[in-house]
């Protein structure tokens, strides 16, 4: 008998709880009207960023293209007169991209980055193929100060041998013997 009473009490509390919820304001965020600010590291539409001086960061090393699990990144590398490498063309097929973020992790120059812009739906699937002009932005993304050629030991206009940040002058290997 006590068991039955307990069961009835449990049922009544359950029904009371759901009934009370009937008069609460719904907590739904109604998407197209209300857009919540997404976390900084949300993985969506990919951009190609520039260094603080406005140069393209991408050095066309093919690492992102190699690591991409769905092979949606392709490019052609070339070299400027001053020794800076760049991509003559750079293409991302967003119809294939799974937004895993591996390209961003692989990038040695912080060039390729994922942004929070996720509303990329299109009627025509071919409009989802983005060329370099569509991908390039004029800011540094998440890593604003970084300039790859100021650190890398590559001779460009940014500096010759031993003139980069945290780089020692080249030593004469002949005089450096033990």
């Amino acid at each position: 008998m006590a068991e039955a009473l307990e069961a009835i009490k449990a049922l009544a509390t359950g029904f009371a709880t759901t009934f009370k919820h009937l008069f609460r304001k719904p907590i739904t965020e109604e998407y197209p009207e209300f857009k919540r600010t997404l976390p900084e590291r949300t993985r969506a539409r990919i951009i190609l960023t520039r260094d603080p001086d406005g140069g393209e960061r991408c050095v066309a090393c093919y690492l992102c293209s190699a690591v991409c699990p769905v092979s949606c990144i392709s490019m052609q590398s070339a070299e400027k007169e001053d020794g800076r490498r760049y991509a003559t063309w750079f293409r991302i097929n967003f119809a294939r991209c799974i937004y895993c973020g591996l390209c961003e992790e692989a990038c040695p120059t912080s060039a390729i980055q994922l942004t929070a812009m996720f509303e990329t739906c299109e009627r025509d699937i071919l409009t989802l193929v983005y060329e370099k002009e569509d991908l390039l932005v004029d800011h540094g993304g998440k890593d604003k100060e970084y300039n790859f050629y100021k650190y890398a030991g590559v001779v460009t206009q940014e500096g010759g041998k031993g003139e980069h940040i945290k780089e020692d002058k080249p030593v004469n290997v002949k005089s450096n013997l033990p």
Binding site: L11, G14, F15, T17, H21, P26, I27, T28, E30
Partner: protein, 327 residues
């Protein structure tokens, strides 16, 4: 000449009831989705039209234009027939529900019921047993393990709750002294039977919910274990027919709760069909509330409740009612 007028009147009544039932079934889906959403502090459908009122129409259109697939290994004829069995058996049950006493048109009395069978109650039970065939055959003909399990569960569940359903209404028949549903409503002219038979009411509601395969008795379709149970393999409007059957069943259940326990179309002020409508909606809302609150029963619990609680309680209720009526 008389029989032609009779047939015309019958067809008009059939048409009105059918359209009413189907429209109400569509909007019952909307009511359920809205009400259930509010119970879970959500909004529910609110995109198609004002308050999402066009949602049922959009759903129906979508179901109709979807491809109607038949699995290669399925038993084709049975597979195609099973949804119709479910939908028609649910729709036909409404034929004996009175929605008013009678209309007088051009000096002729037109009873507001499609047919006043003298065994109306038995007709209802017969049809609700037929509904089991739709579920069991649909599950079997799909030739899929999920469907088969759903169908077996459906058959077992509905057969065991049929007993309690029938037995719970025997006291009502004893009070009214007739199997005719019109007579049963007329017997409640002074007071509804729920005051006389509260236990029968509870037993009837529980077993009728099990009959209509709704949460907490939705074992035949148990989404998280069986995919979608007996209608896993169905698509398009054939799935829609199962769906329609379920919601028509909900209305029929509401109508029978009203007819057997709440005095049917009787009520003050408002016209008779409106009272029946209000009672149907009320029962439907309570069923949705139950759905929003209770989890699904386990299979053994389901059987234990049916055979060890509801059937003995219903038998006891019959004996006590009989004893009281004799004294």
């Amino acid at each position: 000449m008389d029989w032609i007028i009779g047939i015309i009147v019958l067809i008009v009544k059939l048409g009105l009831v059918l359209v009413g039932l189907l429209l109400l079934a569509a909007y019952l889906v909307w009511v359920e989705r809205k009400f259930l959403a509010r119970l879970q502090i959500r909004y529910g459908p609110n995109r198609a039209g004002k308050f999402g009122l066009l949602q049922p129409i959009a759903d129906a259109l979508k179901l109709m234009v979807k491809e109607d697939t038949v699995p290669e290994a399925a038993d084709r004829i049975l597979f195609l027939l099973a949804p119709a069995v479910v939908a028609t058996s649910a729709l036909l049950m409404f034929a004996v529900v009175p929605f008013g006493s009678h209309l007088t048109l051009w000096g002729k009395k037109i009873p507001l019921v499609i047919t006043d069978l003298n065994v109306g109650l038995l007709y209802v039970f017969a049809l609700s047993s037929l509904g089991v065939y739709g579920v069991a055959l649909g599950g079997w003909a799909s030739n899929s393990k999920y469907s088969l399990l759903g169908g077996i569960r459906g058959a077992a569940q509905m057969i065991s709750y049929e007993l309690a359903l029938g037995l719970s209404l025997v006291p009502i028949v004893m009070h009214a002294g007739s199997f005719s549903i019109v007579d049963i409503v007329n017997a409640q002219a002074k007071y509804p039977f729920i005051l006389l038979q509260p236990f029968a009411f509870v037993i009837f509601i529980v077993s009728a919910m099990a009959e209509s395969k709704r949460i907490p008795f939705d074992l035949p379709e148990a989404e998280n274990e069986l995919g979608a149970g007996y209608h896993t393999e169905y698509s398009g409007m054939r799935f829609g027919l199962f769906f329609l059957g379920e919601y028509v069943h909900m209305q029929v259940l509401g109508a029978f709760v009203a007819v057997f326990f709440l005095g049917g179309w009787r009520g003050p002020l408002l016209p008779a069909p409106v009272w029946l409508f209000i009672k149907i909606i009320l029962v439907a809302l309570i069923m949705i509330w139950i759905r929003g609150t209770l989890p699904r029963l386990r299979y053994d619990q389901l059987m234990a409740v049916g055979w060890k609680v509801l059937i003995p309680a219903a038998l006891l209720n019959i004996m006590v009612t009989g004893a009281i009526l004799l004294i």
